[in-house]
């Protein structure tokens, strides 16, 4: 006959009918004779039932919402290599278009820009107190250019000359558009 320790090692297999028929009958024989092991064999299924009947808990109502906000919050940093690979054609196409556009634009700009005694370079902003006044019209208003200075309208349009509505300024005092030149003259 088996001792109690050896029976208890096999008790789960015995209860779940996982033992060979010969081993099963040996354990069964022991249980009939041993009240201690029999009590254990009786208690285990009851404990299992109690564990199986434990109350189920549920996630909070905003579980999915929290998860999605976490995922969407970290999406840009989690752009994987596979995703980059997937969009590689689109990215390459965009880069080629950008380079072509930049190249053509630079070429045209260089073609049209005068080389000798070129125009006075604009440094800052062309501002007009009147909203809707374009850089060209703003330039046309500037009759006060000194004789040595030459202003090119095309250059003004192509540089970062900006016409802004300086509504915070005192309109009554300053109604003339201001052009700031590199040499400091107005």
């Amino acid at each position: 006959m088996l001792d109690c320790d050896r029976v208890q090692i096999q008790i789960s297999d015995f209860l779940e009918k996982g033992l060979e028929p010969a081993a099963h009958s040996v354990v069964e024989k022991h249980l009939k004779a041993c009240p201690e092991c029999r009590a254990i064999a009786n208690r285990i299924p009851m404990v299992r039932t109690m564990m199986g009947n434990l109350q189920l808990v549920s996630c909070s109502d905003d579980f999915s919402q929290k998860l999605h906000s976490r995922i969407s919050g970290e999406l840009p940093s989690s752009l994987s290599f596979a995703q980059v690979k997937r969009y590689s054609y689109a990215i390459s196409f965009a880069v080629v278009i950008f380079v072509l556009f930049w190249g053509v634009n630079t070429f045209i700009f260089n073609e049209s820009a005068p080389t000798a005694n070129g125009p006075v370079q604009l440094q800052g902003a062309v501002t007009s107190p009147t909203p809707g006044v374009t850089p060209a019209s703003a330039v046309q208003q500037t009759s006060s250019l000194s004789s040595g200075q030459e202003f090119d309208v095309k250059t003004a349009q192509n540089t970062n000359a900006v016409v802004s509505d300086s509504s915070d300024d005192d309109h009554s005092k300053d109604r003339e558009p201001r052009i700031k030149y590199v040499d400091g003259t107005k």
Partner: protein
């Protein structure tokens, strides 16, 4: 959790209508977010119950389930269909829970009172109308949970997966990454300890039933 003997977790769950977990993760790997949502809906409650029984704390359990899905989302391309999806996701959740347990041990070194503070964080929902029954049921829950928490983590994990969640031994072996024989031995030892600790409760229930 309703389950029958000799029926594995995945057999029960694959019996449900709709696409299988493996079909859903395949769709999700191709960028279908709706498939991911379906997986979240399927697994959030079972995972929460697993982690809650393992850690005994509802707030931490929900955080870990969140982390689990976040990892699934981030590492979806690492899943290969050689294993079941349920095995994969339970492995992730189990590992995160064990990490949390280690972290908790370290924290305990600094704060002795923390355990009593976290115990108050969660109360089981009221489902029973009879106040006497309610008290009895809540008390039984607490006693069983305490007995589970007293088990060493490696026994605790397998007994929850087997007797609370209803996984087969083979599935548990895949989740905890230990041989089948070791899983069976751990489950048996966990049951022996639990029946010893819960003997008074079993006898009480038995006497009420008779």
């Amino acid at each position: 959790m309703a389950k029958t003997e000799n029926e594995s977790y995945s057999e029960r769950n694959n019996g449900r209508a709709g696409p299988t977990d493996e079909e859903l993760i395949a769709r999700f790997q191709k960028g279908d977010m709706y498939a991911f949502d379906l997986l979240v809906r399927r697994y959030k409650e079972p995972l929460l119950n697993f982690i809650y029984r393992f850690l005994g704390n509802m707030v931490e359990a929900e955080d870990i389930v969140q982390d689990t899905f976040y990892r699934v989302f981030k590492n979806k391309h690492y899943y290969k269909e050689v294993a079941k999806f349920s095995t994969w996701i339970y492995t992730i959740a189990g590992n995160l829970a064990k990490t949390e347990l280690r972290r908790r041990k370290r924290r305990k070194l600094f704060s002795i009172n923390r355990e009593t503070a976290t115990e108050k964080e969660f109360e089981l929902p009221d489902l029973v109308s009879n106040p006497e029954k309610e008290t009895d049921s809540a008390l039984t829950e607490k006693i069983i949970q305490k007995a589970i928490s007293n088990l060493p983590p490696k026994f605790r994990q397998v007994i929850i997966l087997r007797d609370v969640q209803g996984f087969s031994y083979e599935e548990i072996s895949g989740i905890v990454k230990v041989p089948l024989g070791t899983v069976k031995s751990r489950v048996n030892r966990a049951r022996l300890r639990l029946q010893e600790e819960l003997a008074f409760l079993v006898e009480k229930k038995d006497s009420i039933a008779n």
